[in-house]
Amino acid sequence: MVPTSYYVLLSAILFTIGVLGVLLRRNAIVVFMSVELMLNAANLALVAFARERLGVEAQVIVFFVITVAAAEVAVGLALLVSIFRTKRTADVDEVSTLKG
């Protein structure tokens, strides 16, 4: 069997790549994708720990995380579309004022 620590290691690497994506990229859509990557990394660690303890509850939590992530993506992308309509850009550096 694969030790749980390998999964945790992979999860940590993926989470770090997601954080770097949020910090380095300026395309708002790619920043969004990096957030999704971080959610996935956290889910992977959760399932790995659940497999070690054989807890079904963690699978329920991952199910909820995936559902809420779907809702979050829908609303977030709608926000991006309406920002793009007013500012004509998806660069996060350009969208630095609160005035619409």
Partner: protein
């Protein structure tokens, strides 16, 4: 055998994530992220969680990535980062902090869980979608209903945000 499968999938997942991070075109980023999601779904199968494998493929790799690709192509925002970064010191600082985060999370993550997972009767119950469903509709019924409301609010929010001819 499991270990070989894990290593291959892990390499694919990391390649997908890094390629998403470095590719300049947002459509390529989305497709590499799709590769990463597929690799993670295989991980769920390796962790004997077949229901999550199916959910990951349909919701993430299916619905969410299609939404991403659709918005990228709708906006034509494949390449918005041609101009140089306004804050010059941000990239090295981000790399440094990312490295620090990796070190900390690896140290913390490897500290606790190293025992190999047990097998047997309990594993069969763990991997059975029926036990998950039973839990979802008994102990976690209220959170389940709340996620239904969250999805409803998301639908209403998207419709309101993208109404034409009205300033928000």
């Amino acid at each position: 055998m499991d270990l070989i499968l894990f290593l291959i999938t892990a390499v694919i997942a990391i390649i997908g994530a890094v390629a998403m991070l470095v590719s300049r075109n947002a459509v390529h980023s989305a497709l590499f992220l799709l590769l990463n999601f597929a690799a993670i779904s295989v991980m769920y199968l390796l962790l004997s969680a077949p229901f999550l494998f199916a959910i990951q493929l349909t919701v993430y790799a299916g619905a969410i990535m299609v939404l991403f690709l659709f918005v990228v192509m709708l906006l034509g925002a494949e390449k918005v980062e041609d101009a140089p970064d306004r804050i010059a010191w941000q990239q090295p600082l981000a790399l440094l902090l990312g490295l620090a985060l990796l070190v900390v999370s690896v140290v913390v993550g490897l500290g606790g869980a190293t025992t190999p997972p047990p097998d047997g009767e309990a594993l069969a119950q763990f991997s059975d979608p029926r036990s998950l469903g039973a839990l979802l509709f008994t102990d976690y019924l209220l959170p389940f209903e709340v996620t239904g409301f969250i999805l409803l609010i998301a639908v209403v929010g998207v419709v309101v945000l993208n109404q034409r001819g009205r300033k928000i």
